[in-house]
């Protein structure tokens, strides 16, 4: 049973780690792209020596997206850092797959979840909001491209790839909270069961 539980641990930890890494990459891309879109829109206005409404809207949206992306990145990095300690412990403990080592890993993961539940909830919200912003930004970039009529090939290529990147970041941002929800649901289930288990342990401590 211990070996089976250890295998399950390995898979669950790898999945969660991958999810955090996807969020870190998504947040970093969103940050970088927010700067690029904002700077590009501002440079266009400087080049035209005029205030252009679509560019103003894009700059503002990119700035807001950038702020959310920083928050998303910081939260993801915090979780990654805490989870890294658990992964190190797992590597040390998994060599000795006895009941006590596996139980310690379970206790440790429960403590991690209790400590980080509110951060995971924020991460879920942060990634969803950032995702929504980048979907909106992608739509605006695409709309601008379509409304321009004739456009140089290079501009068309960069604009199209920008819109596609926005949509990809947006989809990652909007979709990844569902995995966090799954993670929260599973660990809440375990915590709920542990509260019931406390009654049993209490009876043993009381010597019944």
């Amino acid at each position: 049973m211990e070996t089976e539980t250890l295998g399950r641990f390995n898979k669950e930890m790898s999945s969660f780690n991958t999810l955090i890494l996807i969020n870190i990459v998504g947040a970093a891309l969103a940050m970088g792209f927010g700067v690029a879109v904002g700077a590009n829109a501002m440079l266009t206005m400087i080049g035209e020596r005029n205030i252009l409404l679509p560019q103003v809207a894009m700059t503002e949206l990119a700035l807001v997206g950038f702020v959310f992306a920083i928050r998303w990145l910081v939260l993801s990095a915090q979780i990654f850092d805490s989870f890294d300690d658990i992964r190190d412990e797992f590597k040390n403990r998994s060599e000795k797959a006895d009941g006590e080592a596996v139980t310690e890993l379970i206790v440790q993961n429960m403590a991690f979840y209790r400590d980080n539940k509110s951060t995971i909830e924020k991460l879920k919200l942060g990634s969803r909001i950032t995702g929504a912003f980048f979907l909106l930004l992608g739509s605006i970039v695409a709309f601008n491209l379509l409304s321009m009529g004739s456009i140089a090939l290079l501009n068309l290529l960069t604009g199209t790839s920008g819109a596609i990147l926005c949509v990809i970041i947006g989809i990652v941002g909007v979709y990844s909270p569902s995995f966090f929800e799954q993670y929260i649901k599973i660990w809440d289930h375990r915590l709920m069961y542990s509260a019931e288990a406390e009654k049993k342990l209490d009876r043993i401590l009381e010597g019944e």
Binding site: M1, E2, E4, T5, R8, K11, E12, S15, F16, T18, L19, D85, G99, E100, V102, T103, E104, I106, V107, Q108, M110, A111, F112, R114, D115, F179, Q182, Y183, K185, I186, W187, H189, R190, Y193, S194, A197, E198, K200, L201, D202, I204, L205
Partner: protein, 91 residues
């Protein structure tokens, strides 16, 4: 171990750590407890007969007794069950 733990999880941690004789300082360090809380938990476990205190080379040491086995075994079974009972998390 760091992080929020229940009382039972802390008892389990102290008892498994004290399978080999340990000093008070090493217990509170290993279990991330302050000395006041650590003393309360150790006193409780001594009172229950789950821990035994003895002197060796002018040092006061603590060791888990056989009486703690029922608690330790039940804890292990319950936690393995609660972990495996929940659905799997996967991407």
């Amino acid at each position: 171990m760091k992080g929020k733990r229940t009382l039972y999880e802390i008892y389990w941690e102290i008892l498994t750590f004290c399978r080999s004789p340990r000093t008070f300082t090493s217990i509170i360090h290993r279990c991330s407890l302050n000395s006041k809380i650590g003393e309360e938990h150790i006193d409780f476990l001594l009172f229950k007969g789950y821990l035994r205190r003895f002197e060796e080379e002018e040092r006061s040491l603590y060791r888990t007794t056989d009486k703690a086995d029922a608690f330790l075994n039940a804890f292990k079974e319950i936690y393995l069950e609660l972990y495996n009972k929940a659905p799997r998390f996967k991407l």
